[in-house]
Symmetry: C2
Subunit: 126 residues, 2 copies
Amino acid sequence: MESVFEIIAEPNRRAILSLLASSQQSVGEIERRLRMPQPTVSKHLRVLRDAGFVQSTVDAQRRLYHLKPEPFQEVEMWLAQFRRFWSAHLDALERHLDRIDQPIQKKNKTRAPHRPNRERDKGEGK
Amino acid sequence: MESVFEIIAEPNRRAILSLLASSQQSVGEIERRLRMPQPTVSKHLRVLRDAGFVQSTVDAQRRLYHLKPEPFQEVEMWLAQFRRFWSAHLDALERHLDRIDQPIQKKNKTRAPHRPNRERDKGEGK
DNA sequence: CACGTATATGCCTATCGTAGTATATACAGA
DNA sequence: TCTGTATATACTACGATAGGCATATACGTG
């Protein structure tokens, strides 16, 4: 269970991650919402914790699990090398995302948006 | 081998995909560059092809494999739900990416760059 | 301290996926 | 058509992992 990719290959783990994306949850809450046996939940959480996807805080005898960003960034960075292949196909996806995330006019001086390599785009690209 | 995540969980397959990201390759080229036995390459390519990650074109007795975008988009869309968790941590990553990819001044009207949800960024965000 | 709740772990088994090896198929050229 | 090259597939064995079940540990409360 070395790479982040093997971690997210398991459907139940992805379900847990998606659930935690909404907010932190205790083991029992995960168990109930996902209709999963408790040992299964605990074992998957163990894997996720070891891989750095989640972290737990103690609340009496409960453990509240919440997401950690680093492993997702790792997936993101791997994915980045393929971005230029979507350029043609990406517009549809972006229209979708733009409907979720309000457009930012400029102001991207604070943080330049995350974009694929595009050596054209303006004769500037080397 | 149902999901795209299981497909990319295999390190050799990720290597093949990364290689194909530079340009299309024949089976023999992949075999030589990755130092992988030919049946292994063919079998992984079979899996990748069935999953829609790659497609082959015939060139005499060679088969040239190239990437297809759809499955990557699927990973991307799954990843999207976690984007807001990086917001705080993303700046470091972006400074890194900005060192690789030259900043684009504006001109992002052609295609709005792909960005995470960030409801702040300027009082504008909703 | 006994009991109930919450979570983690250990053991066993079944399943699945990969590598390895051999072999089959397809094509090109002499 | 024979030969060499390129790629795909079949078969086997092995290793890893997830699930099920039982049990252990931890904590809180009466």
